[in-house]
């Protein structure tokens, strides 16, 4: 992770014959940085290449709790029961599955939660466990988090260097696909294909994991 946003910006500017301020008016610097950030977020989401660890201290009796604000998607979840100091894995489920598994009588359990849900919650950026536990504990998360915001001031990409060229192609696809004088659909389509190539390569590395 040694490539900076300024390095990639200058490369794009050289190829598209722009100056450092994008003075031609086809694109703006914040716009291009926005493309970079979006592509990096999407790349992380689609490949689950990098993971962060998080802990949500659960309020007993609560069914759902807020997720970390930098959360993109969950890779795995565990329940840490404070009383027994035991950590159990929680499989992913939905409310339909859990309703039929547990039946209509279970509201809050003396036992441990059986699964976690990211869907069927009553709010966004929220995670639920089913059934809600009476005892105190914590939800352990292995999740994909938002990458550092690229601001054009020399911020490092979070994605390993070998995949940064693919993010650059994603940005080319956004820039050259934009409706306007700079539109070049042939290069935009090609660049999008290169971005997809990066995703496939990353997925091939991580296949079978975790």
């Amino acid at each position: 992770m040694a490539i900076t946003d300024t390095d990639q910006l200058s490369e794009i500017q050289a190829v598209l014959q722009e100056d450092a301020a994008f003075s031609n008016g086809l694109w703006t610097l914040p716009e291009v940085l926005g493309y970079f950030n979006q592509r990096q977020y999407r790349f992380l989401f689609e490949t689950k290449m990098l993971a962060a660890l998080g802990t949500i201290v659960w309020i007993p009796g609560q069914e759902q709790m807020p997720l970390p604000v930098d959360w993109i998607t969950t890779i795995a979840a565990t329940w840490h029961d404070y009383a027994t100091d035991e950590v159990i894995p929680l499989p992913r489920a939905d409310s339909f599955e859990m309703d039929r598994l547990l039946g209509p009588t279970v509201v809050v359990t003396d036992a441990l939660p059986q699964a976690f849900r990211e869907e069927d919650t009553t709010d966004t950026l929220t995670i639920a466990v089913t059934p809600p536990p009476k005892a105190s504990g914590a939800l352990g998360l292995l999740y994909v988090s938002l990458s550092d915001v690229l601001d054009g001031l020399g911020t490092l990409f979070n994605v390993p260097d070998d995949w940064v060229p693919y993010l650059k192609y994603g940005v080319y696809a956004d820039m050259l696909g934009k409706t306007g004088r700079g539109q070049d659909l042939l290069r935009a389509r090609y660049a999008e294909q290169r971005y997809q190539e990066g995703i496939v390569l990353a997925q091939s590395l991580l296949q079978g994991w975790p």
Binding site: M1, A2, E11, A14, V15, Q17, K48, M49, L50, A51, L53, I75, A76, T78, D85, E86, V87, I88, P89, G140, L142, P160, D161, D162, W163, V164, P165, Y166, Y172, D184, L186, R187, Y190, A191, Q193, Q196, E197, G198, V200, L201, A202, Q203, S204, L205, L206, Q207, G208, W209, P210
Partner: protein, 248 residues
């Protein structure tokens, strides 16, 4: 030992030789294109390897790889290999593995399994209970290292010469992106040759639908005649006649 046959300067000269007219790229653009080729080759094949020692954090079952490593391929502890498994394996086959350390009664006295949590994060079981002192209590991770980036013209290209042709082709293709249009399209075979070289090293990539689509393999399959199943000896004889060009 690494390859020390060709320098960046020589490679840039060879790149210029591949274009008949005065080059439309600057030396810096050529350097960037060659580095991109090396990076993409590494992403596809994990070509550059290294081994690093990573001290374990007492009682922590997660180990973050240092920035010099892109991903792990083999993990050892004091020279003894750890068995690669998945987090799912650990979660569903070892009860409370996340709270188990080498000091837990009944647990193995050293880490025995490792699992990849992400490209740069590993899990080990059981967690090492003791602090690392002078290199003890550390895992050795053999994996893919960061691509050696070329900066100065005197830098050697750490790649076998048999791969230079595809690397130069890829760099030429990357540079043609600047021109776009027919100039870009006419260099597609160079890009595909590069992907083909990568696919030789990466079977998972080679069998991906993306690769098959880009290489046109699926199109060829569609164009090939449908094979009829052979049901009897007579059918088989008729089928072989057709194959030989004889009319049944």
């Amino acid at each position: 030992m690494s390859y020390t046959a060709i320098t960046l300067g020589q490679l840039k000269a060879r790149l210029a030789d591949r274009y008949e007219s005065v080059t439309y790229w600057s030396p810096e653009e050529a350097r960037r294109a060659l580095n991109e080729g090396l990076r993409v080759y590494s992403a596809a094949t994990g070509f550059w390897r290294t081994i690093v020692s990573v001290p374990t954090v007492p009682n922590s079952h997660y180990v973050a790889l240092p920035g010099t490593l892109v991903q792990a391929a083999r993990v050892t502890w004091n020279g003894l290999p750890l068995e690669p498994v998945t987090l799912t394996d650990l979660s569903w086959s070892i009860r409370n593995w996340r709270r188990t350390t080498t000091a837990t009664p009944g647990a193995p006295p050293r880490p025995v399994y490792w699992a990849r949590a992400s490209l740069t994060l590993l899990a080990i079981y059981p967690a090492d209970a003791y602090a690392s002192i002078a290199g003890t209590h550390a895992i050795q991770v053999n994996g893919v290292r960061a691509t050696p980036v070329l900066v100065n013209d005197s830098d050697f290209v750490d790649l076998g010469q048999e791969q230079f042709d595809v690397l130069l082709g890829y760099a030429q293709h990357v540079l043609a992106f600047k021109l776009g249009g027919q100039a870009l399209v006419s260099t597609y075979p160079l890009w595909l040759a590069f992907l083909q070289a990568a696919a030789v090293e990466n079977a998972q990539f080679a069998k991906s639908s993306f690769y098959r689509k880009v290489m046109g393999i699926d199109v060829l399959r569609r164009k090939r005649g449908t094979e009829a199943s052979v049901q009897s000896a007579v059918d088989e004889a008729l089928a072989s006649d057709v194959a030989l060009g004889n009319q049944p």
